[in-house]
Symmetry: D2
Subunit: 179 residues, 4 copies
């Protein structure tokens, strides 16, 4: 197995992460409708937890103005590995860290924890590119937002570059993707 | 860059995939509430499209009985790269292929296409493990379901093994994750 | 029982409505996540069907510009009676009529039908007030939008005024409610 | 205006309700995706708040077993009036009372309050019929559940019978509706 993949697994996999590996935590209540026909929270909702965890931080700590700010964050990649299930009315403990901040992009890692359980029920990644609200072209991360992101930076477990190519190294994407 | 990673990017990245790379397609209408505050379909909903695309196939073609069948599919990993946005009332064209079928697991690749656009608006991966409904332990994929999955198999672009370790090679996960 | 209430029940209740009582119909596919733990589409999602049915009409037929138009529609009341269940992957047939158009408001009635069943699985009401996007104060319905709404007008079963007081008769609400 | 309608408006309308009119309250956090394109929480999500508020009570206080209990609650009617808007990341204060408990049905009234605001942002009604999980025929409310519901009973503002006909007076509905 090549070194990069192994290091990715170490960071992304089920074994390593515990609550203390993350810089910020937020309790997120499940809702009745999160449960699907199999009686557990649907895999889709985990991404709603990611979104909520991240954007609550950006608004509260980074001054992101989702209604009128010049710069908005759009998601260019997300990923989740599911290790154990939640079920309404569980409360999810969302944990967040930042592993890379570029000129216009940021890569987060997320852990979702269940009350009383050490290992994460899910681990995920989420990449935001900040863009101009009107043109949707990549824009520099505003200083207060950048400061809030840097407070979430943790040293990566290994020094490997991220698998996801940093858009800052290239011309950047053309049309901007999903919010 | 190690060969594995390059091949993954070739399969997962924006460049290669077109509609004809997928074995099955389904039109999925967006809903008013899919749009978020930035005016486009929220990144979370793309996973609802994955879920819907995959389970519609399993029910219609593979005889999956989500209400009473002995075996159910749970998601152990999902991933999405967002290349362009959708906005209600767009209709999403979901495209599906299978790249690996194991004893109890299957790995899908998904493309989401916009009307009149050749390149996918999003590309994703989704891994199902089939488990016993009661014990939630991995179970053999029932023959009719397996047959339906094999009809979606396409030759991978390269012969590399998947990055996600196949649970069939190991003892398999303990407690089963999200539905 | 006073006459008003009886007439409301006649219009709103399970007995009277059939597909032909509505002026417009739209097929709406269910999604995997619509099902809840009891195996049927969650009551909340019926309102997502209402929203989607109504706004698709307003955009396609009335020229509503949800991204930049000066006037937007906000919901001031909605209601649903549930007569039978849906279950993914059912396709819902949404049926829409308008029973009142005021200066700035419109009252819709909705029926949700199941394939092959004459009686509606659900009947609902939805009241839109159109407001200025910036001030959120009631605004006159623009002519093309009004024309599209009037094409959905059906003679009410009885001539009673609506139970919901028409905001046009009063000063109108202050701060505007949910979108 | 007939007396019944007036009394209904008094209970249901915007004027009368304050937090103290309700027997139970629960904080419900909004999620990023609750906001729609107009920047406020979508009208549909208010019903997700209703569902969550009610079922959390039934599970925590009434011993409702949503996974395996013999009796489940299905919604036969819901309704909401929207007086003011929420916007992520607002926390919604949900307030709940019961205005009628029958043999197999219960009618709730809900207020949704915004931090620091006396008047409710929304007021709603929700009718549950408890049914046998298998046959989906109306079933007697189990004693512990009934006791928990009776703890939420408040004297109605007026003595009028509810507009919604009580299913207990008749044979009850045939096929049971949405969960």
């Amino acid at each position: 197995m090549p070194r990069r993949s192994r290091s990715r697994l170490a960071r992304f996999g089920r074994v390593s992460a515990v609550r203390d590996d993350y810089a910020h935590r937020l309790a997120i209540a499940t809702r009745w409708g999160d449960n699907d026909v199999y009686g557990h929270v649907n895999n889709v909702e985990y991404y709603a937890f990611f979104d909520t965890l991240i954007n609550t931080w950006l608004i509260d700590q980074g001054g992101l103005d989702i209604h009128a700010g010049e710069v908005i964050g759009v998601c260019v990649e997300s990923r989740c590995r599911y290790h154990a299930s939640f079920s309404f009315p569980d409360v999810v403990e969302g944990a967040l860290r930042v592993v890379h901040v570029g000129r216009s992009s940021v890569r987060y890692e997320i852990g979702l924890f269940k009350d009383g359980v050490v290992a994460p029920a899910a681990t995920g990644e989420f990449v935001h590119v900040f863009v101009d609200r009107e043109t949707r072209r990549p824009a520099q991360i505003p200083p207060p937002l950048r400061a809030s992101l840097e407070r979430l930076l943790v040293a990566p477990v290994v020094a490997d570059p991220p698998l996801v190519p940093d858009e800052d190294a290239a011309d950047g994407p053309g049309e901007m993707p999903a919010d």
